[in-house]
Every structure is written in structure tokens, then in C-alpha cells.
């Protein structure tokens, strides 16, 4: 290959996007499509359930959990910024807060589901509403759990002192996923607790 004539452009910059970032964005695109299909099914099925309970009878709006999850997006952003500036302690602290906020969200959902399933006997097979509700919210919560697993792994590594400034890019790419999970919750919340709860037919 040495015989291909090198040109003046050899001195020019030749940079391409990072493959990690590109792949994460592709993955997010694919996941968005999966969520879109579930959201469409949810919207389509609003008010079609032939047996009770109705959303108004069973749903409790999880305001506190939502606030927790959405704030975790800010804390993870500040955490990665701290890492970029090589402030490892601040990174650790903010990362721990992110993890705690995420855990609170899962805990809130678990309590709520336990109440619905155990006390009110409302399950995924009860009615069409049960199917679409547990599927959509469950799909989201499973993504939160995957995200939390990643958060905890990185936290454990950071506690062991293995996370350095040079890992900024990988941590940053991971934070994209967490932001995505939060953004999806905004959509799911709107669909389930605003449109669905008020029985707005689409």
C-alpha cells in the first residue's frame, strides 16, 4: 500500500467520531423504537379494556419517584463533569447520590406494585389494562435496573480507586444510557399518568 501516493492532505486533521459514542447512540435508537411500539400499544389500548379496574381506580401518581429519577440525570451529569476535571472525590459523591436516587425510584415502584398485586389483586393477566400497564412500566423499570447494575459496578470500581480521569469517555458514554432511561420515563409518565389516567382516547 505504500505505493499509493501520499498527498498534501497527509498533514490535515483526519478525525472520525468515537465508535463507543456512535454505538451507544445506535443502541439508544434501537431501544427508542422498542419503547415506541409499547407506547403505541398503550395509547391504542386506552379505554379498550373490557373488565376493571380502571386506571383512575388503581393508579397512584408517583411524584416523588419521578422527581428522584429526573434529578439523578443532573447528578450524573455533574459527576461526569467532576471526573473530567479530575475531582475524584466529588465524582464519587455525586455518583453515590445518583445511585441512591435510582434505588429510591425502584423501591417506590416495588412498593407500589406490591400494593397493587398483593392488596388489590391487579396483575398483568387481570385485564387488557393490566397487560399494557405492567408491560410498559415493567419494560422501563427493567431498563432502570440494568442502568443501576452499571451504576453500581462503576461505583464499586471507583471505590476501589480504579476509575481515573482517563476513563472519562467510557463513563460519559454510560451516562448517555442513564439520560436515555430518564428521558423515556418522561414519555412513560406522560402516557400512563397523564393521558391514560384521564382516559384521553387517542
Amino acid at each position: 500500500m505504500s505505493s499509493i501516493p501520499l498527498s498534501a492532505s497527509a498533514q490535515e486533521e483526519w478525525t472520525l467520531p468515537s465508535s463507543g459514542k456512535t454505538s451507544m447512540l445506535c443502541l439508544i435508537a434501537a431501544e427508542s423504537v422498542v419503547f415506541t411500539i409499547f407506547v403505541v400499544a398503550y395509547l391504542y389500548d386506552i379505554g379498550k379494556s373490557l373488565s376493571g379496574p380502571t386506571p383512575a381506580e388503581i393508579l397512584k401518581v408517583p411524584i416523588l419517584d419521578t422527581v428522584c429519577l429526573l434529578s439523578s440525570s443532573f447528578t450524573i451529569h455533574w459527576a461526569t463533569r467532576a471526573l473530567r476535571q479530575n475531582r475524584i472525590k466529588a465524582f464519587l459523591l455525586l455518583w453515590a447520590v445518583t445511585l441512591a436516587l435510582g434505588l429510591k425510584f425502584v423501591e417506590g415502584t416495588a412498593t407500589n406494585w406490591h400494593w397493587m398485586i398483593h392488596d388489590r389483586h391487579f396483575t398483568i393477566s387481570t385485564s387488557l389494562f393490566g397487560t399494557s400497564f405492567y408491560s410498559l412500566v415493567g419494560l422501563h423499570i427493567s431498563h432502570v435496573v440494568i442502568g443501576l447494575t452499571g451504576l453500581s459496578l462503576i461505583f464499586a470500581l471507583a471505590l476501589a480507586g480504579k476509575i481515573k480521569q482517563k476513563h472519562f469517555e467510557s463513563i460519559d458514554i454510560f451516562s448517555y444510557y442513564w439520560h436515555f432511561v430518564d428521558a423515556v420515563w418522561v414519555v412513560v409518565f406522560t402516557v400512563v399518568y397523564v393521558i391514560g389516567l384521564h382516559g384521553i382516547q387517542v
Binding site: 500500500m1 505504500s2 505505493s3 499509493i4 501516493p5 501520499l6 498527498s7 492532505s9 497527509a10 483526519w14 472520525l16 467520531p17 468515537s18 465508535s19 456512535t22 454505538s23 445506535c26 443502541l27 435508537a29 434501537a30 431501544e31 423504537v33 422498542v34 419503547f35 415506541t36 411500539i37 409499547f38 400499544a41 391504542y44 389500548d45 379498550k48 379494556s49 373490557l50 373488565s51 398483568i124 393477566s125 385485564s127 387488557l128 393490566g130 397487560t131 399494557s132 408491560s135 419494560l139
Partner: protein
């Protein structure tokens, strides 16, 4: 590995098709039972789409894309291995249903749900036992593998191009595979979502597709075809990619209208996400929905037509070399055109109401998948085999393969249109002699014999040439893209020194330093 895996399943899927054609060759045959026939067409469709054509195309993309963009490997080699094993495991799981599915007589039983698996056939009430579970899990798992492969191909092209290869200097094959990868990411995911819903319905007692609880069987159709139609283009765009590389080399001319070719494929990709419900005209949609899908489906013929004209423009006044890869590409042009035209016929809703679910539809999509895609895949085998093995494939055997397969193809799929127009429905296991479909079905089935002979010659040629073929050298076709600059077979790291390009045809620049391409582009 992808390619070998695809070829293995090609044999299996082909055998299933052959058994079906034996059954249908004469009226009132009893070669297989109706149940087995239903299993056969379910497995044939699923196998050919998910476990033959897609793995082969991913295999070619994996092999060729890094070579053509001057990269050492794919961007994410570990994800690559993961995707392959997911796909492979999916295929094995599907075929395990023959053993593990509950059937009568203590035998296994494959799913009998057709490849698009409409509800409520897939519900527990109608699909007793586990064969449908094997089917849905197989598709789910291989879908994850496909998305992984798509992400990998996309990132490789975005992030691993060699110095100087701007987007406008990329070989068309790379461009088209890039579009294909984006479509895999966006197009396979709806199917994955729908399969998750089906699993919820089957395992957790959900009601997504259960009309008795207010669910909807039609929504499955929508979700399936939102995947299903982009899928057709996911399969055919790599075929376009092969044609776009092979036709210029054997016409000794640059591709005609490179920017338009790229624009056309982007238009096809974009439009293909808005045509899915043309598979559902007979469901009974509102007339404005029918009108929309008729128009969007017809619109897609425009960029497709542009591509055909550009290939013809490339051949026009070229010094054509009728080597085997070129023969397959020329047949592709002709057959793809006809397949496209019957597609426009079927895209017209009233026409579709007449012929929906007849053999006319079967003939149409086989014209695209066999006549369009499989022909270019054969062309790609003949064209890149020397690069992969260092030996040429035998030309005489290649031409014999071409003619046998061409005759077989036309006997089978040309004459398949006729019983369709006469009203023969698809997926029937037999028919009465008085219907007058007998002679056509006999011709169709005889065509299969020629196709099998052709593929037999092809397999023999691959083995023979691997052992005794002429040494190929680095650049047997006097081609222009980067893969021909390295040795045949290429080393594991592809290029000893990463190349740098200044035009779309770097090897032309190298061979003709007095008249390089970059002074024109």
C-alpha cells in the same frame, strides 16, 4: 462464519421448499400431511429470511466493509462475536422445535403459524404446546443479534474509514451497507418489541392480541409489518450494493450518477418505513389509509427506478465482460425490474383485493428475493471468492450454474404467476384436478429440479476451486476499490499499512498516475 451458517440453512430451507413443491406438483397428492405442510411453509419462510439471507448479507458486510473502507477490523469485534452467536443460537432454537415441541405420536412438531404469525393463531388456545414458543424466542434472540450486527456495521463505517475517505468518496457498497445497518437498528426493533408482547401474552397471560379482553389482533399485523416491509429493503439494499460494485468493474466504466445512487437509497430507506400497511389492504382499513399506503408504495418505485436506470447507464457503451458475476448481475437487473412491476400491481389496493393471498403474491416476492437478492449474492460469491480464498472460481462451472439456475428460476417463478391469477390461494396443501392449476404447478415443480442442480454445481465449484482453482493474485478483475490492493486472502489485519485515498477509485489512481480520478471529482 456468518456466510457458512447462512449456506447451511439455505440447504435446510431449500429442502423444505422442495418437499412443498413435490406435494403441489400434481393435484391431490399425499406426499405430506396438511399439518406437516403448514409446518414446512412456516419454517421455510422463517428460515430463509432470518437464518439464510440475513446472516449471508451480514457476513459479506462484515468481511467487505472493513476492506473497502481501509480499516483493520470492525469497530466492535466482541459485539460481532456476540451477534453471530445470538443469531446462531436463534436458528438452533427454531429447529429444536422439531424435537422439543409437543406434537402428536410423541414426535416433535414445528410451529404451524406462517412466518408472519398472525394472532390469534399464536395464542395458547390455537398453538398448543411449545413449538410457537420456540419460534418466538428464536426470532427474539436472533433479532437481538441482528441489531448488534447493525450497530457494529454502522459504527464501523462511521468511525473507521481510512484517511481521506470522506462520505462522498466511500464505495457505494459501504454507503448502502451503512443505510442497511441504520434500517436494521430501526426496523428489527419493532419485531423485537412485538415478540416481547407475544411472550407476555403466552407466558404471563397478557391480552395484547386477545380480542376477548379488548385487545387487538390487527395491532400485531401492524407491528409485524412495520418490521416486515423495511426488512425487505434491509435484504435488498445489500443486493443493490453488490450490483453497484460489480456492474462498473465488468462494464469498465465508473458508476453512473454516484450522488443520485446515494440519494435514491436514502429515499428508499426513508419511504420504506411508511409503506407497511400495503400488506394489509384486505384487513379493511379506512379508505384514506388505503389511499395513503397505495401512494407511498408507488412513490418508492421512483428511487428504485432511478437506481435501475443508473445501472443501465453504467452498462451503456461500456466494454462489457460477460464473466459469471456480471451474468448474475444482468439477470438481477431484468428480474428485479419484473419483480418491481408486479409489486406496483399489488400496491394498487383493488388489484390486491383480487390477488391477495394467492400464488401471484408468492411469485412476486420470490422474484425479488430469489431473482433479485439471491442472484446478486451468487454474483458476490463469484466476484469476491478470489479475494477470500486466493483462488479463482471455475468459469465454466460458474456459467453452467448460472444457466441452470436461470432456467430453473424462470420455470418456477414465471409460471407461478399463472395459478395465482387463476385464483390458487397460497398455503394450501393440495387442490382438485378440475381446477386447471395442475399443469402450471407441474412446470413450477420441475423448475425446482433445475435450481437444485444449479446450486449443486455452485457448491461443487466452491469446493473444487478451493482445492484446484487458479491462483487469483491480488487483483484478478482489474478493479478499483481498496480490497483489491491487499493480498488474497487478506491478512488478519487486512492492511500492513493503512491506505489513504483521494477519490472513489483509489486503485485507478494507483494504476493510472497520469490520469487520476481525483482531478475530476
Amino acid at each position: 462464519m456468518y456466510i457458512a451458517y447462512g449456506l447451511l440453512f439455505l440447504a435446510v430451507g431449500g429442502a423444505e421448499a422442495t418437499i412443498m413443491r413435490i406435494q403441489l406438483a400434481l393435484p391431490e397428492m399425499h406426499f405430506v400431511s396438511p399439518e406437516v405442510f403448514s409446518e414446512l411453509f412456516t419454517m421455510h419462510g422463517t428460515t430463509m429470511i432470518f437464518f439464510v439471507v440475513m446472516p449471508i448479507l451480514f457476513g459479506f458486510a462484515n468481511y467487505l466493509v472493513p476492506l473497502m473502507i481501509g480499516a483493520r477490523d470492525m469497530a466492535l469485534p466482541r459485539l460481532n462475536a456476540f451477534s453471530f452467536w445470538m443469531t446462531a443460537f436463534g436458528g438452533l432454537l427454531l429447529y429444536f422445535s422439531f424435537i422439543g415441541g409437543t406434537g402428536i405420536y410423541g414426535m416433535g412438531s414445528a410451529p404451524q403459524i406462517t412466518w408472519w404469525a398472525y394472532a390469534p393463531l399464536t395464542s395458547r388456545a390455537f398453538s398448543v404446546g411449545h413449538s410457537t414458543d420456540f419460534w418466538t424466542l428464536a426470532i427474539l434472540i436472533s433479532g437481538v443479534g441482528s441489531v448488534g450486527a447493525g450497530v457494529n456495521i454502522f459504527s464501523t463505517i462511521a468511525c473507521r474509514r481510512c484517511r481521506g475517505m470522506t462520505l462522498s468518496k466511500m464505495p457505494l457498497l459501504a454507503w448502502l451497507n451503512w443505510v442497511m445497518a441504520a434500517m436494521v437498528i430501526l426496523g428489527i426493533s419493532p419485531l423485537t418489541a412485538a415478540q416481547i408482547m407475544l411472550c407476555i401474552d403466552r407466558y404471563l397471560g397478557g391480552h395484547f392480541f386477545d380480542t376477548q379482553a379488548g385487545g387487538s389482533a390487527v395491532i400485531w399485523m401492524h407491528f409485524f409489518w412495520i418490521f416486515g416491509h423495511p426488512e425487505v429493503y434491509i435484504l435488498v439494499i445489500p443486493a443493490f450494493a453488490f450490483a453497484s460494485e460489480i456492474i462498473p468493474v465488468f462494464s469498465r466504466k465508473v458508476i453512473f450518477g454516484y450522488p443520485i445512487m446515494v440519494a435514491a437509497v436514502l429515499a428508499i430507506a426513508f419511504l420504506s418505513f411508511s409503506v407497511w400497511a400495503h400488506h394489509m389492504f384486505a384487513v379493511g382499513m379506512p379508505s384514506y389509509a388505503n389511499a395513503f399506503f397505495v401512494l407511498s408504495s408507488m412513490l418508492i418505485a421512483v428511487p428504485t427506478g432511478i437506481k435501475i436506470f443508473n445501472w443501465l447507464g453504467t452498462i451503456w457503451r461500456g466494454k462489457i465482460i460477460f464473466a459469471t458475476p456480471m451474468l448474475f448481475c444482468l439477470a438481477f437487473l431484468f428480474q428485479f425490474l419484473i419483480g418491481g412491476l408486479t409489486g406496483i400491481m399489488l400496491a394498487t389496493a383493488p388489484f390486491d383485493w383480487q390477488l391477495n393471498d394467492t400464488y401471484f403474491v408468492v411469485a412476486h416476492f420470490h422474484y425479488i428475493i430469489v431473482g433479485g437478492i439471491l442472484f446478486t449474492v451468487f454474483a458476490a460469491f463469484y466476484y469476491w471468492y478470489p479475494k477470500a480464498t486466493g483462488r479463482m472460481m471455475d468459469e465454466k462451472l460458474g456459467k453452467l450454474h448460472f444457466w441452470l439456475f436461470l432456467i430453473g428460476f424462470h420455470m418456477t417463478f414465471d409460471f407461478m404467476h399463472v395459478p395465482g391469477i387463476l385464483g390458487m390461494p397460497r398455503r394450501i396443501y393440495t387442490y382438485e384436478a378440475s381446477r386447471g392449476w395442475g399443469i402450471w404447478n407441474l412446470i413450477v415443480s420441475i423448475g425446482v429440479i433445475f435450481q437444485i442442480l444449479g446450486v449443486g454445481v455452485f457448491v461443487y465449484n466452491m469446493v473444487y476451486s478451493y482445492l484446484k482453482g487458479e491462483p487469483a493474485g491480488n487483483d484478478p478483475w482489474d478493479a478499483w476499490t481498496l480490497e483489491w490492493s491487499t493480498s488474497s486472502p487478506p491478512p488478519a489485519y487486512n492492511f500492513a499499512e493503512l491506505p489513504e485515498v483521494r477519490s472513489r477509485r483509489p486503485l485507478w489512481d494507483l494504476k493510472h498516475p497520469e490520469d487520476p480520478d481525483w482531478s475530476y471529482e
